[in-house]
């Protein structure tokens, strides 16, 4: 038997550096790991480098130095298009294509992967149903006809339609009112448990990180300040940055 055991790590960064033209470091020796089937949350203020870290995982950003491994392979060994079709991508505020119907947005990735046509729409409908948007009502609508929460749901459905082994989410519940956000988060946790998808999620919302994360990595200025299970972060916060961060969010 030469078949290797399934990788237990869905994605990892090892000592990754990335600087932008201004000379400032977006990432300054960043290392992290997302175990398979779990949710890793990158928590940080804006400018902490968390979105840059996320984009390394689907090659929207190329590192200056360090190793990026995704789904058992070096990121540089992947064809970027192939990689992105296997890794789901949820963008802030949905980033839905305004000229396509809700259903066409959701069926986009299966279609890009060349799945047979009736199957793509079928898959799109299933996912709309999964994220709580009855397809008979929502399939034909345009993104502009949806509420903010509905748009976020479509964004998640679009990312899940390609049956990704890894899901990357950039502030997926960002622009929502607190009640909608809380409910959607709970629903999302349930979908994730059902599908057992590995997730890397970026947020600046401390409560969201502690609610959703199996692991939470707190970032500041391109480095990990503290990482561990939410309970550990909550009980023994790193004093210089994490504690004030939690306090400011009213969680201590």
């Amino acid at each position: 038997m030469t078949q290797s055991a399934p990788p237990t790590t869905a994605a990892s960064l090892a000592d990754v550096r990335k600087s932008y033209r201004s000379g400032s470091f977006a990432l300054d020796g960043l290392s992290l790991e997302c175990p398979e089937g779990r949710i890793l949350v990158l928590l940080g203020t804006s400018g902490s480098g968390k979105t840059t870290a996320l984009k390394l995982l689907n090659r929207l950003v190329t590192p200056d130095a360090g190793r990026v491994v995704v789904l058992g392979r070096e990121a540089t060994a992947w064809d970027p298009v192939e990689l992105r079709r296997r890794v789901g991508w949820v963008v802030q505020e949905g980033a839905l294509f305004p000229h396509l119907s809700v259903l066409d947005n959701v069926s986009l990735v299966p279609r890009l992967r060349g799945l047979p046509e009736p199957g793509c729409a079928e898959r799109g409908r299933e996912l709309l149903a999964l994220v709580g948007l009855p397809p008979e009502r929502f399939a034909g609508l345009r993104p502009l006809e949806l509420s903010g929460g509905e748009r976020q749901r479509v964004g998640v459905a679009r990312a899940l339609a390609g049956e990704p082994a890894l899901l990357l989410m950039d502030e997926p519940f960002g622009a929502l009112d607190p009640i909608t956000r809380f409910g959607l988060r709970r629903e999302f946790a349930a979908w994730q448990r059902r599908l057992q998808t590995s997730v890397v999620l970026v947020t600046h919302d401390v409560a969201e990180a502690l609610q959703l994360g199996d692991l939470v990595a707190v970032m500041d200025r391109g480095r990990i300040v503290q990482s561990g299970p939410p309970a550990e972060i909550r009980e023994r916060p790193e004093p210089a940055f994490v504690r004030p961060f939690l306090e400011a969010a009213g969680l201590l």
Binding site: R85, H99, A159
Partner: protein, 499 residues
């Protein structure tokens, strides 16, 4: 006669000109789109390249149309006719299409563009599925501007013999006939409104890509039907040309009608924008025959020194033209020399000869057409011959407007021609050329020698008109057009029918 009756009488010609106009607009905007959209897509990806190319397209748009024609006509394959007009119109239509394509693509939300890549689109898929659909409204707005602009600018096509509604406008100006002018201008304006409305509907349609594709498809279909129809009736006719003033229009119609009466199929490309254009056209074979004046041929075309001997000038022109591949026919019978024309009141006050101008030169306002400033037998020579020193710079204007300006006291002396009908119409006075400065300007047909050799009987048929048109007859015909607002074609037919 009411304006509507006037239009009804000319409906066949109006429809033909309108069709030519539509074809010019469609061909020019289709070509401009086929060039502009792909080029715009390329430029949107490299802003450093976009800036100089857009600037160049902007400069092309600022070149005045007549200057552009002057540059294009000598080029091989272009010459006089629709091709040159289309090239010029494409150059004008390119900028809005190009610029809107670049701007439309560059203004697609970068978040959406990144999302497209993040979801696994290739660059080509992103262009087709995201960039172009989202830029489409802006691209279509550019196309709409280009089409409306082209409907307007296509009126200048008539200046190079490409026809279209501009033919009425130019003829209207040349013959000072407001009805003709409006018969060209109103349909052109309506056409522009129609195109604007149609493209506006495409822009607002729920599926603009499909609507635009239908429109392009429809245009191509229409053009191929028109092309096939044109091809079927194609038989190489004798192409008669003329310059762009009343007398030339009458002479063009006269030649054309006479040749038709002799059984030749004839195509009219009248109203070409000047001597240089007509000469280039007859040499290239774009037109087969037009009427030239011996003085013009000697001085402007052959660039020889002036002479006041009619016989000698004709012989010299005939020899010079032979070397250029042209045949000069026999004189038609009148001499259309330059004439300095004044209001009757001025003549009554003692201004009768050109030499009388010398003492009045300090206050006299002179009106003339631009060509006269540059001519060998034009203003500089006239000033030398008579010792004239004008204090006021002469006013340049279109030939057709000179007499209006004179009558309304905007100028005191205009440079016209001895056979101008408006001289008789308004009772104006021609100053005597008492020092015999102006050379003879006998009207002679000029034929393309190859065509004359290939069409037996053509030269003979043209020479049948020799000596038949004297100065009085020519002035009467010019008057019939300028003063009585009759069509040059009708006046020519009536003359040929004889008294």
């Amino acid at each position: 006669m009411s304006f509507l009756a006037f239009l009804a009488e000319r409906r066949a010609e109006l429809f033909a000109l309108l069709s030519q106009h539509v074809v010019l607009v469609l061909v020019a905007t289709l070509v401009a789109s086929a060039v502009g959209v792909p080029l715009g897509i390329r430029l949107a990806r490299s802003p450093s390249l976009a800036r100089p190319v857009l600037a160049a397209a902007g400069v092309a748009q600022t070149v005045p149309s007549l200057a552009l024609f002057g540059l294009l006509i000598p080029l091989p394959f272009l010459g006089v006719g629709p091709r040159t007009a289309v090239v010029a119109l494409v150059l004008y239509a390119l900028l809005p299409i190009l610029r809107n394509t670049v701007v439309g693509l560059q203004s697609v939300d970068p978040v959406l563009r990144e999302a497209a890549l993040g979801l696994g689109m290739t660059e080509a898929q992103r262009l087709r599925m995201v960039d172009l659909p989202l830029a489409l409204p802006v691209v279509l707005a550019g196309l709409r501007i280009a089409v409306v602009l082209t409907v307007g600018t296509a009126t200048i096509a008539a200046a190079v013999g490409a026809g279209g509604l501009g033919a009425y406008i130019f003829r209207g100006i040349a013959t000072v006939d407001a009805r003709l002018l409006l018969a060209g201008a109103i349909p052109a304006a309506l056409l522009a409104l129609l195109a604007d409305g149609l493209l506006g509907r495409v822009e607002r349609s729920p599926r603009p890509a499909r609507a635009a594709a239908a429109l392009v498809g429809g245009s191509v279909l229409l053009l191929s039907v028109a092309g096939a129809a044109a091809h079927r009736v194609h038989e190489r006719p004798i192409v008669v040309g003329s310059k762009n003033f009343t007398e030339q229009l009458v002479l063009g119609e006269l030649l054309a009608a006479h040749l038709e009466a002799r059984g030749f199929p004839v195509e009219r490309r009248l109203n070409l924008g000047g001597t240089a254009l007509c000469h280039a056209a007859v040499r290239s074979g774009a037109i087969d025959v037009y009427v030239e004046y011996t003085g013009t041929a000697l001085l402007d075309v052959l660039k020889r020194p002036p002479s006041s001997d009619p016989r000698g000038v004709l012989d010299e022109v005939r020899r010079g033209y032979e070397a250029l591949g042209l045949v000069v026919g026999r004189p038609l019978g009148f001499d259309n020399s330059f004439a300095l024309v004044v209001r009757p009141a001025a003549a009554a006050a003692g201004l009768r000869r050109i030499s009388d101008l010398a003492e009045r030169a300090a206050t006299v306002r002179l009106g003339l057409f631009g060509e006269f400033l540059e001519r060998e037998d034009g203003l500089p020579g006239l000033q030398r011959a008579y010792g004239l020193r004008f204090q006021t710079a002469p006013t340049e204007m279109d030939l057709g407007l000179l007499y209006e300006a004179l009558r309304h006291d905007r100028v005191d002396v205009v440079v016209g021609s001895a056979t101008d009908g408006l001289i008789a119409v308004h009772g104006l006075v021609v100053l005597e050329d008492d020092r015999r400065y102006f050379p003879p300007y006998e009207a002679v047909p000029v034929l393309n020698a190859r065509r004359a050799a290939a069409e037996p009987g053509l030269g003979h048929a043209v020479d049948e008109l020799a000596g038949r048109i004297d100065a009085a007859a020519m002035r009467r015909m010019n008057h019939a057009v300028d003063g009585e607002h009759r069509s040059p074609a009708a006046v020519a037919r009536e003359f040929l029918a004889g008294p």
